[in-house]
């Protein structure tokens, strides 16, 4: 590690050699396989503002600098002390007494020459009030181990500038990560969806293709190469004709009959494509349903209103178009097809032909959606090229796994009771959540954290302090639960309160590294608009190896 140098807001790493595209492809190969070029581009455009420079901040930033975040700014006026030397890998023994933000920026910048890092020596509140532009141009704000009053003020400020925010704090083996985002939309959620093959209601070209396949005239070699999509359509037809029952709302017993029929149709008992067909009947022979998450998006007011207010966000313009598409007779209540089908046992020609049919269907659906989009754009007085063809394409390909995330804002969360008391209690983390709030209340009242030695009172015995503080912290947490949250007979386990106090609110390296990883992963999800963020809180109890993601 290089000796830390002083870095200020005016000095950055510009002028360093930038990597070429092919260098980047090699360097980032293992992550490009996850979020692709567009995800990487989003990361490289991002400007992240981090409040705090302790171990938590260092670990988080390591996990963002390595994958190549665009720029980061660390805001803190703390200096490096003994505790920090023991827990923060990105300060060195020679940094003792120096400005911590500058030390970590210097050491972290070394991990990736493409990333621009800067330190601003200021308190969070001073920075907020003076650096309007640096704040307003941030893509994401991350708050590490700050008092709740500061977190709330930053949350209000982020709300005003419409910037998503993450906040984390830790006390020894205990930690929490919170997300505050008024609205976050995801097209590439990478969510697992079942194969969309439409065997129950084949579109015209698929129906025509299935009809053109004549199983009766085939020998056993040819039969072994018919893709299971066609086999299931044939079996469904035969079953419906034989039983006189409509192909709709099939029950388990009926699906079993169809699977049996498919096994009977097989030229030999273990013919692979017929087995594939029989095994897929249960999941494929179901009525088409729009996923709940997508329904919510279509029913959201933002998907209905355009002309009156200046909606320019492509996601919502496309959602508007999608809502109209779904209401049109063309769609028959089904989302645009992605054009993708799973691999299945078949000869090359049959599979490629089948693939072509679905791709063609996807293209037709996209054309139809684009027509609706053009109407939407016209009504919003936006140019017809406002949404790029690439964006439309991606939206259609992912139409059945779109996601919308809205969380309560952090100041609302922290200044009122948790939204979901039962869920927190059910997950066994209500007491943890209360103890974090109580720790802050203790700090506000006593000007020191529970378990931390009072200033000007040395040499105090640490075990005495811990013993004295534990019942106090427990009591604060319990009255908060009873009086502010309306919990009848609140109970905070003595052991857990003692574990919080034992830490003196200090950070442990392993816990910080854990939390840093979670913060970075949530940051990457928010910045790339890929994958699905956690609900809004993750609680880490590393003392008891208990990790819970839930909602407050």
């Amino acid at each position: 590690m290089r000796r830390p140098r002083s870095v200020t807001a005016n000095e950055s790493n510009q002028g360093k050699r930038m990597r070429t595209e092919s260098d980047k492809a090699q360097l980032y190969d293992r992550q490009l396989r996850l979020w692709q070029k567009d995800g990487q581009a989003a990361l490289e455009r991002a400007r992240v503002l981090v409040f705090g420079s302790s171990t938590l901040a260092s670990e988080l930033l390591k996990d963002l600098v390595l994958p190549g975040i665009g720029e980061f700014t660390v805001v803190d006026d703390a200096t490096v002390d003994e505790q920090e030397l023991r827990t923060n890998f990105f300060v060195r023994p020679t940094d003792l007494g120096r400005l911590r933000a500058q030390c970590i920026v210097a050491n972290l910048s070394e991990l990736n020459p493409d990333v621009i890092g800067q330190a601003v020596v200021a308190s969070a509140v001073d920075f907020m009030n003076s650096n309007t532009e640096l704040f307003d141009t941030a893509s994401l704000v991350i708050v590490c181990a700050q008092p709740e009053s500061v977190v709330c003020e930053l949350s209000r400020r982020c709300d005003k500038a419409n910037i998503p925010m993450l906040a984390a704090s830790s006390a020894g083996f205990q930690a929490e990560v919170l997300t505050s985002v008024s609205e976050h939309t995801v097209v590439e959620s990478h969510a697992d969806t079942r194969a969309d093959l439409r065997v129950m209601t084949p579109f015209a070209e698929l129906r025509k293709y299935a009809d053109s396949v004549n199983l009766e005239s085939m020998d056993s070699t040819d039969l072994a190469h018919v893709p299971y999509v066609v086999l299931i359509i044939k079996a469904l037809d035969k079953w419906a004709a034989d039983s006189g029952v409509e192909k709709k709302g099939l029950e388990y017993k009926q699906k079993s009959e169809i699977a049996t029929l498919l096994r009977e149709m097989a030229p030999t008992p273990d013919e692979e494509n017929f087995s594939e067909a029989a095994n897929n009947v249960i999941i494929l022979c179901v009525d088409y349903e729009v996923p709940l998450e997508v329904k919510q998006i279509l029913e959201d007011p933002a998907a209905k209103l355009i002309a009156s207010n200046a909606q320019t966000d492509s996601f919502w313009l496309l959602a508007n178009a999608l809502r109209r598409y779904m209401e049109s007779t063309y769609s028959e209540g089904m989302l645009p097809h992605s054009g993708a089908i799973p691999d299945m046992k078949a000869d090359t020609n049959s599979y490629i032909e089948l693939q072509r049919l679905y791709k063609q269907k996807a293209e037709q659906d996209k054309t139809e959606l684009t027509a609706h989009l053009h109407n939407v754009l016209q009504e919003a007085s936006l140019p017809s090229n406002h949404v790029s063809p690439g964006t439309i394409d991606l939206f259609c390909k992912n139409a059945n796994r779109l996601r919308l995330v809205r969380t309560r804002l952090l100041h609302q969360v922290l200044e009122s009771k948790p939204d979901n008391l039962e869920e927190l209690a059910g997950n066994g983390v209500l007491a943890h959540y209360a103890l974090f709030r109580a720790t802050d209340a203790f700090y506000v009242k006593s000007d020191r954290y529970p378990g931390a030695p009072p200033q000007n009172d040395s040499p105090a015995k640490l075990d005495d302090i811990v013993q004295k503080d534990t019942p106090v912290l427990k009591q604060i947490a319990e009255s908060l639960m009873a009086e502010s949250w309306g919990v009848a007979d609140p109970e905070v386990p003595e052991d857990l309160a003692a574990e919080f106090v034992r830490s003196g609110n200090l950070q442990l390296h392993s816990t910080s590294a854990f939390v840093g990883g979670i913060l970075a992963q949530e940051a990457i999800k928010l910045l790339t608009h890929q994958y699905v963020p956690h609900s809004n809180i993750t609680i880490i109890d590393a003392a008891n190896s208990k990790f819970v993601a839930t909602k407050v």
Partner: protein, 432 residues
């Protein structure tokens, strides 16, 4: 106990204060060692890659004073997006050595020793001197080997050979962690079926009915390469060689109307590349180190015994006790049974041992009584035993015979009872 300095910082606070979650927490263990002394005993980190770099940093910053790291690999440019102890100038150097040197620079008070070797090359005394092992490996085979080896140590040396293993693994935004206490809870082998086997494509599909770009890449790399270059092993890191595969695969794909062949896909298929990112490694490595710290110091209860992490759709954590498998070939009865027809050839038995869920062997060598049935090496022995591969099992031994099987995934041999599935039928026919 003397009074504790009120300014105790970092992990030290946790070694000096009563642990609320541990019954009868003692500040010295049964051997009279203080937590500080326990942290001074040697720990081994296996793997200095994505997880390994994190684990090394975490151990160093958590008070471990005597750390060994072993890795047989050298640094590649594609490691630098997560393996933060390495820089561009280090490409080509041994991972273990560069990682150890970095930690040494940051924390000179810690003893850290690098071993640029295979785990199989370290002597028994080395393993006996450890207090704990943390694995940050991507290779299932290496994890099976160390797991079996450590169980054997515990068998032969009792408490002196008892070495807890904390094992971590990641793939993309998912990961898992296990605390393995030899003979006490489930071993790595007991949970082997959690790991899906490598994706393989049937040869007939590759050769005759390709449908996916992957099928064409496999055709070029598995069938065409050895045919055209019989003396050169295909190297997934050699750009020219992968380009050759891309060219051949593209030509074949075009003739079948298949699209989607790219360099990245070809390299991914040839090398079986698993996506990896810094943040997932950070989470799993931290979970591993946290458990290691708790096991060594007793400052909090350790996990019983498995953690699953899924981060791609929300955040999902599952902790659960994985149960010991009575049939486990490592910690169970150390003996396996396989059923196969007496008409099968020795070659088919070998394939069955490779595919069977309980065994999943790589390259088994077989002995019956004192007869060498088949040996994978050395070449002379392989050549001598090769004719047996074509022989039917009933020509070689009787049903119910116990074979001695050795395999690179196992440090010791394994007894496998071979039962002929058609045995009763044969008996009946014999008595007619």
């Amino acid at each position: 106990m003397t009074s504790i300095s009120a300014c105790a910082t970092g992990y030290e606070r946790f070694l000096k204060l009563k642990a609320p979650h541990v019954k009868d927490f003692e500040l010295v263990n049964e051997l009279g060692e203080t937590p500080q002394e326990q942290l001074s005993k040697a720990v081994l980190v296996i793997g200095a890659g994505g997880l390994g770099c994190e684990i090394l940093k975490n151990l160093a910053m958590t008070g471990f004073k005597n750390i060994h790291v072993i890795d047989m690999d050298t640094i590649d440019i594609s490691n630098l997006n997560r393996q933060f102890l390495f820089r561009t100038k280090d490409v080509g150097k041994p991972k273990a050595e560069v990682a150890a040197e970095f930690i040494r620079q940051r924390s000179p008070e810690i003893s850290i020793t690098a071993h640029y070797k295979r785990i199989q090359d370290m002597p028994e005394e080395f393993y006996l001197g450890l207090s704990l092992i943390v694995c940050g490996l991507d290779s299932i085979d290496a994890r099976r080997w160390i797991n079996a080896y450590i169980h054997e140590l515990a068998d032969r040396h009792g408490m002196e050979g008892f070495k807890p293993i904390v094992d971590g693994g990641t793939e993309g935004l998912k990961g898992n962690m296990r605390v393995i206490l030899p003979k006490v809870n489930a071993c790595f082998e007991c949970g082997l079926d959690i790991y899906p086997p490598k994706v393989t494509y049937p040869i007939c599909t590759i050769a005759n009915t390709p449908r996916l770009p992957e099928h064409c890449i496999e055709w070029a790399s598995v069938l065409e390469w050895p045919r055209v270059f019989p003396d050169t092993k295909l190297d997934g890191d050699n750009v020219d060689q992968i380009n050759w595969v891309v060219e051949q695969a593209s030509e074949r794909a075009a003739s079948f109307n298949i699209s989607g062949i790219t360099f990245s896909l070809a390299q991914g298929v040839v090398k079986n590349i698993i996506p990896a990112i810094a943040s997932t490694n950070a989470i799993i490595a931290a979970a591993c180190t946290n458990e290691a710290f708790k096991i060594i110091t007793g400052s909090n209860p350790y996990l019983d015994n498995s953690l699953l992490y899924v981060g791609d759709s929300g955040m999902y954590f599952l902790t659960y006790p994985l149960f010991q498998n009575d049939d486990c070939i490592v910690c169970g009865q150390k003996e396996g049974t396989i059923e196969i027809s007496s008409d099968s050839t020795l070659q088919q038995l070998i394939e069955a041992l490779q595919e069977h869920n309980t065994f999943q062997l790589k390259a088994p060598s077989l002995t019956y009584s004192s007869t060498n049935l088949y040996f994978q090496g050395p070449p002379m022995l392989e050549e001598k035993t090769r004719p047996n591969l074509e022989k039917k099992l009933c020509q070689l031994f009787e049903s119910g015979s116990a074979l001695t099987v050795t395999d690179p995934t196992l440090p010791t041999s394994l007894r496998v009872i071979v039962n002929f599935s058609d045995f009763e039928q044969q008996q009946e026919e014999g008595s007619k």
